[in-house]
Amino acid sequence: MSSLIELDNIGKFYGNIIALQGVTTEVHAGEVTCVLGDNGAGKSTFIKILAGVHQHDEGVMKLEGEDVSFGSPREALDRGIAAVYQDLAMVPLMSVWRNFFLGAEPTKGTWPLRWVDVAKAKSVAKAELAQMGIDIRDTEQPVGTLSGGERQSVAIARAVHFGAKVLILDEPTSALGVKQSGVVLKYTLAARDRGLGVIFITHNPHHAYPVGDRFMILNRGKSMGNFAKADLPRDELVRMMAGGAELDQLTHELESSERGGGGG
């Protein structure tokens, strides 16, 4: 299968801080690529490079075989890369249909008499959500009245509708309960089934394993390798996540005791 996105030895520095180094991975259409890592592992930097918030400082990023580097989120969006952030997904006081079409409202008429085709926007939003299996009672209802899982789901459906090829989900389940997380995971798979390449970022291996086709584990800004689901039993993934954290701790302690010893 040809890859949508190829990353080769991507690195990012903030001054003298190495946020990300030597990360190599591939994202395929119709697959969920899970990026796992503990806090500070470089997950956010990784997303921000893909979504156009930051630019990488070394390595090569290829979108459908073409070398790219996005200057802004809008540019990434225009190229079909949509990011859904945990807390930045929606405007709570606005209705579902307005949120769904925000920034890309369907209009009719010609300027200056150009207005939003509200009836169309509502019916398209409802239909599109229904197609993803998201059942919204009333598209006029403010997004703030939806549950956390429903909000994420609407954001996913929006990205799918606007022709995203790559969907980046940033910790979509971290603030949710078990049931709500299940809802979001279901829509993640629905997006995958519609042929999108999904990048699912999480620190929870139990959420990643059921939906992921491929896994990349980040640790302290470095990739610990790419694995296909077949090569990686669930226990191994959990162990690597947990082991990674232990290793961190150990390295940290060793380093500090070494420095302490050198001083004395």
Binding site: A83, L93, L102, E105, W115, V118, G133
Partner: protein, 695 residues
Amino acid sequence: MSDATVAAAPADSDDERLAYRGVFQRLLVRPEIGAIIGAAAIWAFFWAVAEEFGKAGGILPVLAVASTLGIMAVAVSLLMIGGEFDLSSGAATGTLGIVTILLVKDVGELGGAGLSLWIAIPLSFIVALGLGFFNGTMVERTGLPSFIVTLATFFILRGFKLGFSKLIIDNITVGRIDEGHGYDFWVKIFGSTWVRNDHQFEARDAVYTIGLLGGITLIVLAVYELNYLRKERFNPAGLGIFVAGLAGLVAGIAVMHAGDSTGSNWIAGAIIAVSGLAAATGLATWRYELQPTEAISMPSGAAAEVGGGVALVALGFLSAWQLDQGMDGGIALGQDSVLDLVGFLRWPLVVFGGLLASYAAFVKSGAKIGGDLNEQLHAIVRLLTVGGATAFGVYSFMFMATEEGLRAILFGALVVAGFAVLAIAAHTAGRTSRTAKSIVQLVIAASTVALAFFIRNQSGTPKFRTEVFTILLVVAMVIVGWALTNARFTSRRVQDADADKLGSRMAIGGLLAGFVGLGIKLLFTTDAEIAAGIPRAQFRVEFLWFVGVTALATFVLGRTKFGSWIFAVGGNKDAARQIGVPAARTKTQLFMIVSVAAWLVGLLLAFRLNTLQSGTGNGLEFEYIIAAVVGGTFLTGGYGSAFGASIGAFIMAMSKQGIPAARWNSDWRFAFLGVILLAAVIANNFIRTKAEASR
């Protein structure tokens, strides 16, 4: 919900799990409904104490004040929905007016630029755009709160106004715009007036009556259509009764118009009442589904509430009547004792109000005597604050009010409380039985009739008296009709797109007809009125600008991309930017909209007054913000309505004009405005919570 069902719902049909919202519930979720109710209440209140408020001569000045205030309030509400403030907006109105005048003043020893208005007006427009751009860019670039940035702009503008006025013309009064070249043309756009006394239209009252009654009829029809369940097959017999009833109504109104004696008026009134009820039942029989009959069972709670409500209304009548006896030098109290009475009532009311509020606060706090010390201290602080604030409020109100105002307040408060209790009773009764609800509604109608007669006999303002009498009787008739049909016909519990469309069209048509009637009445006089020597009243083009700006802003907010973006940048700027909304540009454009509105208002003021003081507009920015908030706009951004802001402007204008008109001590008007703002915000908050709960 969504995790249980995966089945795709059909796209454009309505969801069957969506709880159906009745016509009244749907009305209540609008952000501006609180402001509309408030505006009507304040208008009725001032009308009752100051007769000018019922006349064109008293309304037109309110419109004039509301117009310039409203144009700014609408623009400021857009900015506030976008999550920013502009404290320079008041000073900007004066600045842009003065800039225009200085540009047209003759070149001379101390003159301005001496430009034609054809150049000066576009130039000052560009200055306005620049001012807004400056505010917006400063806020966006520095990331400072707009409160601070525009406060700085406010002082800069204030200094510029004074400094340049003195520097250029050596005077703080800047005039005159009518010396400018091209004045004759531009005055038509910014300064036209319509002098009511110069325009006679003999059929005016007929048009007014037809428009108003036609409007009321259409709105009643709309409510029926929106509320009741349609029959599968319409009953033609009902249609016959309905048409006959309507004919009877027309005949009755004709008789009332033709006749002049009290006797013929009574006959006409009876005809109208009977045919109105016939029309209501006929309409329901024709179109709507009957419901199975049920036994009448009045819950005891509802019965007690009915008793309490009626008692409160009666108490209102009694106290107003008693005070009136005092005023007229009647039996109860002598003329001199009126002031004594006010003085006497003042302290008991202060104490009573304070104690009542303290008690309520204590009960609400849930603290117990002998309970936790900390909790008790907390309760005591609360008690003192609430009680003290209420006592102070009552005290200041008593000082503001004249005897007449006091009487109106006392009467109004008791009667409104009584009717509110009756409305609650109807709700309580409705939970058990529809017939019981209808009976309570009949009691409400009877109380309305009593209120109508009481006001006719007791009010000191003749025009208010007769018109309110008519209005209340019509209202009572509508309530009786509603109670009769409500007991027998089925309310709709499901969506019906056809009925909703027809209903809302009729409602809009009804409103339009009413407004056309009212407009004709405000714009024209009759020969008879001229002969009676009514005072000159004029209507300024500013009001048309106001209506235009409100309509445009409402359209932009509700129906354009830019409107969505305004809500988005105010509601969650980061999310909006993330999804591709140009957030910084949207906000800058909003600042520019406000300064262009200030330019418009500056020109309107310049053409109205011909000369502007250098202080023009200073300090008004808070009035714009108050009007926007009273109209339902959030101070925190992301929610609100332009139409609401325009209603808020009306409320402000009525308060400003009404206090002197009611001959109250106008030194207290700011206290009044403060109370209105607080009441509006609390009411809005309450309504919003209710509305959210009903979603």
